[in-house]
């Protein structure tokens, strides 16, 4: 009840004082929008109040001693140093409080672990530093990257309202459905957290973790990666859009059609200029975080591409490292992350940008052939 009243209050506040409700001085957890997050919020408030009450009693006695039992007040010290009764009491009472607290906590935990009977399954894969969402059984998925421009991060431009909490392709889920997430990672451990859902789960390479949520109100919900995963750990946000089911189905159909169209592009005859234009875009999304927008890299972890022997030397070796990655380093295998068109475009771009004027290009068809040979 209390939770709903607070949510109504927050909603009202949001409508009446739009800037004020973005309160910069938020001090407490918010109840969130799922059953789990509401349960967690009430556990949080209960334990917080228990702590406050214990604190008031203990510190109250202490402050009273500090004020009343000072030597400067002429207080003479007593000499007692034990009292078995009191000592037993203040061992048992906290224990009882803890048992009382453990009961609702256990119930909530059991509920959080119940991932059965899900209606939508989504595989979430953490990459340095982006998320991949794949709709299981739909044969369809995509990457979700930070959308905040570099200029805002480096203070050359005013920061937008959702600074660092905005992505190019949000995760879309239908409202009112039990959504199960299957979490894993491609490189290091990441952690997927949307506070308003009460869902935080580590995405661990080689393992699959489960989590679930059911959102009832359509809306946009934002979160971040919460496990240190390297340089751009602070720059891989999560955005989830909960939409009505019909809208979700329409969106899904559209996306699948668009993906099909994208695949057809592989057969098209590409010119150098087209590849360079597309390659620059793909490079900025997929490669620039490590190798830098100007190809200068950040050695030794992230080598420069500008003038590098790979980007200016043998074409097959270049294709190999982009498609298959390099074991034991941060260089990922992009063969499954990018389409043939994007792979061809990126490689062509890298061989001709920043003074790497090899004049060579590779077509999507050649990439497809290369992949098929493997």
């Amino acid at each position: 009840m209390r939770v709903h009243a607070k949510r109504a209050g927050a909603l009202l506040g949001g409508l009446v004082f739009p800037t004020w409700s973005m309160a910069d001085w938020t001090m407490n957890m918010t109840p969130g929008v799922t059953g789990t997050s509401n349960d967690i919020f009430s556990l949080h408030m209960t334990i917080l109040w228990i702590c406050v009450v214990i604190g008031v009693v203990v510190f109250g006695v202490m402050f009273w001693s500090i004020f009343a039992h000072r030597k400067s007040q002429g207080h003479k010290p007593a000499n007692f140093h034990e009292n078995t009764m009191v000592e037993i009491l203040w061992t048992i009472i906290p224990f009882v409080i803890l048992v009382v607290m453990a009961i609702p906590a256990t119930a909530t935990l059991v509920d959080m672990y119940d991932t059965t009977e899900s209606e939508v399954d989504i595989k979430v894969t953490g990459y340095q530093w982006k998320w991949q969402y794949e709709y299981v059984d739909q044969d369809f998925g995509y990457f979700s990257n930070l959308a905040t421009p570099r200029d805002q991060i480096e203070n050359r431009q005013d920061k937008g309202e959702n600074y660092l909490l905005e992505v190019d392709n949000p995760l879309i889920v239908p409202v009112g459905k039990k959504v199960r997430l299957l979490l894993t990672a491609n490189d290091v451990i990441h952690s997927w957290w949307v506070p308003e859902f009460g869902v935080k789960k580590d995405a661990i390479p080689g393992f699959i973790n489960e989590a679930w949520f059911r959102v009832d109100e359509p809306g946009t919900y934002r979160g971040q990666c919460t496990e240190l995963c390297g340089k751009d750990h602070g720059f891989m946000p999560i955005v989830v859009e909960a939409v009505p089911e019909e809208k979700f189905n329409v969106w899904l159909a559209e996306q699948k059609a668009a993906a099909e169209k994208e695949r057809e592009l592989t057969q098209k005859d590409w010119t150098m200029d087209e590849l360079m234009a597309r390659g620059e875009k793909a490079y900025q999304t997929a490669c620039a975080a490590c190798h830098q927008p100007d190809g200068s890299g950040a050695p030794p972890a992230f080598p420069a591409l500008k003038g590098s022997p790979i980007a200016t030397g043998d074409m097959t070796a270049h294709i190999d490292i982009v498609v298959n990655g390099k074991a034991g380093t941060a260089m990922q295998a992009f063969g499954n992350q990018l389409s043939e068109v994007d792979l061809a475009a990126v490689i062509t771009y890298e061989r001709n940008a920043w003074g790497n004027n090899t004049g060579e290009m590779v077509t999507p068809k050649e990439i497809l052939d290369y992949k098929n040979q493997q």
Partner: protein
């Protein structure tokens, strides 16, 4: 040796050697204690400087001062240096100085090993700090160095970091062996275990914790070493290994480690509060049992650091219940300290100010710890600034304030002079305000959803971050005042009596101030 030869030897060895060899070759527990304390303060300033870099970057949203790569190196090195370089050596320094004086022993039981365990530390930290200047930079994977970020994806300097950890681990284990050997063998006649001062008790238990878990830490970094350099796959899933195994092994070390950093402070505070309350410690026996209980429980709660990694439900429940249980003995200690103050005759010199702040602020850290123990709620708190607030509350006003309280309490005994009380009180109040300003708002940031270990943040977190940075700068700058106070106290000041605090109890107050180079050549009788 005959009694005559003993007397003869003492006449010729009444003072320290001259020059640098006094410090390089010393086997005297007081000299070694001093070196530990000076070293730890130097590391405290170094780790603190890194904290200032972190807070300066977080002063405003956007990247201003450092890039994310360097920011991650700063958070990692700050944590490692503060844990292994500042807090742990400070307590070993206090142990070296005070344990023999408290139990009426002439020195530590293994003096030559004592010298070696100290001198290993500067070597270890030289290696660790040198990684900052290596190609690829210093370790950047957080002080918890989770695999595979620290193995497959770590910088080339990781191997140096591993060796540094090995060396400081050897140093800690030898220090712990020395403490146990001293306490169990060299107590004055009549000092039974249950008559030992609490600082001695807490250190005895801490030493057992160290011996139990430092080899585990050495094991986990050795497995990393193998993964990085010799092609094994302990933590690499693609080779049949398990990244989660790393976390289990690390936290099996890591959780007892946090008690290693706080139990000696519990002991020191249990001396200081009775002294300035002029009243015996309430519940001595229950204090001892509580420390024992905390130490035992610390071995079965490690996975509460890993509630979000996908531990099965039964495991999750076990670790939640076990963690909540720790609140019971910890509560007993807090109640005992308050009951000691109750109806005492209190004065508030600097050691007491730090000790009282310790009790209040450590308890606040304990409360947030209890909140974190509630596993479902931990899903929201985990890896946010709420956790950062929690462990800084138990470590800064916990461990560090405990160390300051001890330093002011025993400085007259060490130097023979009283420190400047006005300056010390200023040090206290500026630290107290700065520390709360720095760390209290972090609770709010965490609850509002700010993850930890990020160099830049969303706009709604801007205001509290600025407050926090201002508090951190204030706290950091204030610590230079402590340096000034100590130098002033070493150089001169009011002569200290053998027992400068009228409520203080214990053998250390029966020897003159400053404590002579050799004390208790003849053991005192304890009734």
């Amino acid at each position: 040796m005959s009694a005559v030869a003993d007397t003869h030897a003492q006449e010729h060895h009444h003072g320290p050697a001259k020059g640098i060899s006094r410090w390089l070759l010393t086997t005297n527990h007081k000299d070694i204690g001093t070196m530990y304390l000076v070293f730890s303060f130097a590391m405290f300033l170094l780790g603190g400087t890194m904290a200032m870099v972190i807070r300066a970057e977080l002063f405003q949203p956007g990247l201003q001062i450092v890039q994310p790569e360097f920011f991650n190196q700063m958070t990692t090195m700050h944590g490692l240096i503060m844990v292994f370089g500042a807090v742990m050596p400070a307590f070993v320094g206090l142990a070296n100085w005070m344990l023999p004086l408290m139990i009426g022993a002439p020195d530590m039981a293994l003096p030559r090993m004592n010298n070696w365990s100290f001198w290993l530390l500067p070597c270890a930290f030289l290696i660790l700090v040198s990684t900052l200047f290596m190609e690829g930079g210093a370790p950047n994977f957080g002080w918890t160095f989770y695999a595979p970020l620290s193995t497959t994806y770590g910088p080339p300097s990781t191997t140096f970091f591993i060796f540094a950890i090995h060396i400081m681990g050897i140093s800690s284990i030898m220090g712990a062996i020395n403490v146990i050997a001293t306490i169990l063998n060299l107590r004055a006649p009549g000092m039974t275990l249950m008559k030992m001062p609490l600082f001695v008790w807490t250190w005895l238990i801490t030493a057992f914790l160290l011996i139990a878990v430092m080899p585990v830490l050495a094991g986990v970094v050795t497995m990393m070493l193998m993964d990085i350099n010799f092609g094994t796959s302990f933590f690499d899933a693609s080779g049949g290994g398990d990244p989660v195994l790393f976390q289990h092994v690390f936290w099996f070390f890591g959780h007892p480690e946090v008690y290693i950093m706080i139990l000696p402070a519990f002991g020191a505070v249990s001396h200081i509060i009775p002294a300035f309350s002029r009243k015996p410690l309430f519940g001595y026996a229950s204090m001892v049992y509580a420390v024992g209980a905390i130490a035992l429980l610390s071995f079965i709660v490690w996975a509460h650091h890993m509630f979000t990694v996908g531990v099965p439900l039964a495991g999750q429940l076990f670790f939640m219940y076990a963690t909540m249980l720790i609140a019971v003995p910890t509560g007993v200690k807090v109640f005992n300290w308050v009951a000691t103050m109750f109806r005492g005759s209190l004065t508030f010199e600097a050691p007491m100010l730090f000790a009282v702040a310790f009790v209040i602020l450590f308890t606040i850290g304990g409360f947030s710890g209890l909140m974190l123990a509630i596993a479902p709620a931990d899903f929201q708190y985990h890896d946010t600034y709420f956790v950062v607030a929690h462990f800084h509350y138990v470590l800064v006003p916990g461990a560090i304030f405990g160390i300051f309280a001890s330093a002011y309490f025993w400085l007259p005994k060490w130097t023979g002079h009283m420190y400047d009380e006005t300056l010390a009180k200023t040090h206290f109040w500026l630290s107290f305000i700065g520390m709360n300003l720095a760390f209290f708002p972090m609770h709010f940031l965490g609850l509002a959803g700010m993850p930890r270990r990020i160099p830049d943040y969303a706009l709604q977190f801007a205001d509290f971050n600025m407050v926090s940075s201002i508090g951190a700068f204030m706290f950091g700058a204030t610590q230079l005042l402590f340096l000034l106070i100590v130098i002033k106290c070493v150089k001169g000041g009011k002569e200290a009596a053998a027992k400068p605090w009228d409520g203080a109890e214990g053998l250390e107050w029966t020897v003159p101030s400053p404590a002579p180079y050799h004390t208790f050549a003849t053991p005192p009788e304890v009734k």
